[in-house]
């Protein structure tokens, strides 16, 4: 993994560390800190150029989270829809992942391509088709419609991860279970499912984050009636008057669980799941 021979100079590693850490500071830490500051700006005093720090801080914008109905509603919508999408994806992906991972399936190439398609295709095109179909069957501007469209774009990650996990289960263990007298159901319940749980968990993390962050399809199919946090963020940033303070609050509410989830799941998120989830190999 590490290459020491390529660069002989003693100072070079330190230069490299300096480069990467200053990049991280400018590109990551400063923007996040500015975001947090924006969420704490006192709305009476504001934060106008050329002040480098807000003149006074308050929690007024955070109180707005609970007093402004649109923010509370969006948070509730996001945190309701994401678990539903995750459970739905797990239920749909488990049998399909088993078939793709452990059985000789006909038309495998075509099925794999179908599963890859939503990852590669532009979301706006899928949104155009689904929006147009959903208007016809009366699912536009409904929570059910949003759950369905989000499932379309996050299900492929779940299927790919679950398939990779099923593929990795050694056949010996299944044979041993069968040899020792376990029936197919008992084998599935006591051997296969426990071995697949880590993959299912990793897939669940991907799906939950994907659902929380999904914007284009939710925006086109759901708004204006169903608004999740990203849709609200778009409204605060893209409107005629940008509301940076509220945008910062929504940003933090959106980012905090995502980053927390990522750290919690770091043990489960092995490189292979990451690769499968990112649509590569």
């Amino acid at each position: 993994m590490t290459r020491t021979g390529a660069f002989p100079s003693r100072a070079f590693p330190w230069l490299l560390a300096g480069l990467f850490f200053s990049l991280a500071a400018i590109g990551l830490i400063v923007p996040l800190a500015v975001g947090v500051l924006w969420s704490l700006v006192n709305p009476r005093a504001g934060w106008f150029p050329p002040n480098l720090v807000p003149p006074s801080l308050s929690l007024a914008n955070w109180r707005a989270m609970f007093s402004v109905p649109e923010m509370g509603d969006a948070a509730i919508a996001s945190f309701t829809i994401a678990p539903i999408v995750t459970v739905l994806c797990a239920a749909l992906a488990l049998p399909t992942g088993y078939a793709l991972g452990r059985r000789p399936v006909p038309f495998r190439r075509a099925i794999e391509f179908l599963v890859l398609a939503p990852i590669i295709m532009p979301g706006i095109v899928i949104a155009t088709g689904l929006g147009s179909v959903f208007i016809r069957i009366g699912l536009e501007h409904t929570v059910l419609g949003v759950v369905l469209v989000q499932t379309v774009v996050v299900l492929p990650f779940m299927i790919r991860i679950v398939t990779a996990t099923f593929e990795a289960v050694p056949q010996d263990l299944i044979d041993a279970a069968r040899n020792l007298g376990a029936g197919p159901l008992s084998t599935a319940w006591r051997v296969l499912i426990p071995l697949v749980v880590p993959g299912l968990f990793a897939g669940g993390v991907f799906t939950f984050i994907g659902s929380m962050e999904e914007f284009v399809l939710t925006f086109i199919v759901g708004s204006p009636d169903v608004r999740t946090l990203p849709v609200l963020l778009f409204a605060y940033l893209g409107g005629r008057s940008q509301i940076f303070t509220y945008a910062a609050v929504v940003t933090i509410v959106l980012l905090a669980p995502t980053i927390m989830f990522l750290f919690l799941a770091e043990r489960a998120l092995k490189q292979e799941y990451l690769a499968a989830g990112l649509g590569k190999m």
Binding site: R3, A17, L52, R103, V115, I120, T128, R136, F215, L255
Partner: protein, 300 residues
């Protein structure tokens, strides 16, 4: 006994056939939830996009075959410029991301203090939604952003980076978002290059830059091409970031599609533009598969 013998192969064949039939049913049953869902909610809507773009399968209107919407796309400068603007965003941000990611991935192979921390930190943008990325970068480089305020204190003027004609603000956000994505793929491939090969090149007198150019890059080509393809197609169809940070004209094609759908309820024109976007992406995907054929495609 002799009467039984001829019957036994036939019995075997019928038993085999029954077993194969049963296997097919089980496959169908297992695949139905996942594949069926995608067929229902991906294939049918896509068919709808293509039908609607030629005037068919519309709701509450007379269906009549027409190329009118495609003609509109090509003759009206607004739409054509949108297409080329999206193409520009895709090419520029992919090239910048690729150059940056290649350099950083190669540097990440070297041991330096704090390398583990950097390898965790650089992955954070992967989980940041693109809207949040747009907000963070806007508060950094926007007209009233923190950098503009900083250079104001030193008496300098900050260049206009967002809402500009060439979409540099959009490109910057997309690069910020895509460099870590490319680095994950490319560093994984680079880390799998045997150390001996690099040492041999160094031993034979190649400079570090020559090793990078003639050994490291060619050997990581599968990862590089896959990452490039995925990033380009994503940016080409990107809606949120261009919509927030671009100037009034030209607007990216996905933004035009959204306006046609939600502001003008012109689903047919939006479908035609979507079909153009899909066909262009499909063409690039096809070229990619032709180019990497036999070298092990990274995207499967």
């Amino acid at each position: 006994m002799t009467e039984v013998l001829p019957a036994s192969p036939a019995l075997d064949i019928s038993r085999l056939a029954a077993r194969r039939r049963r296997d097919n049913w089980i496959n169908l049953l297992l695949l139905a939830p996942g594949v069926g869902f995608l067929a229902l909610f991906l294939v049918i809507p896509l068919a709808q996009v293509f039908l609607r773009s030629v005037g068919l399968a519309a709701v509450g209107q007379a269906s009549r075959f027409t190329w009118e919407y495609y003609r509109q796309f090509w003759t009206e400068p607004q739409y054509r410029d949108g297409f080329f603007f999206s193409l520009w965003l895709g090419v520029a941000s992919t090239l910048i991301s690729l150059a940056t990611a290649l350099l950083f991935s190669a540097l990440m192979q070297i041991r330096f203090p704090g390398r583990l921390l950097v390898s965790v930190l650089y992955k954070i943008p992967l989980v940041v939604p693109s809207l949040v990325a747009a907000f963070l970068i806007l508060s950094l480089i926007g007209p009233g952003g923190i950098l503009a305020r900083l250079v104001f204190h030193w008496g300098w003027a900050w260049p206009r980076l967002v809402y500009d004609r060439w979409g540099w603000g959009v490109i910057l956000v997309l690069v910020w978002h895509n460099v870590p994505f490319m680095m994950v793929i490319i560093s994984a491939v680079m880390a799998s290059i045997p150390l001996d090969i690099l040492d041999a090149a160094r031993n034979l007198g190649a400079s570090p830059w020559a090793v990078f150019r003639c050994v490291t890059v060619p050997l990581s080509l599968s990862g590089i091409s896959a990452a490039t393809l995925l990033v380009f197609i994503q940016v080409f169809g990107a809606f949120a970031v261009p919509s927030l940070l671009e100037s009034a004209y030209p607007t990216a094609l996905p933004v035009i599609m959204q306006m046609e759908m939600m502001d003008h309820a012109n689903w047919a024109l939006a479908s035609a533009l979507g079909a153009v976007l899909t066909v262009a992406s499909g063409l690039i995907l096809f070229l990619y598969y032709r180019l990497v054929q036999g070298r092990g495609a990274g995207v499967r």
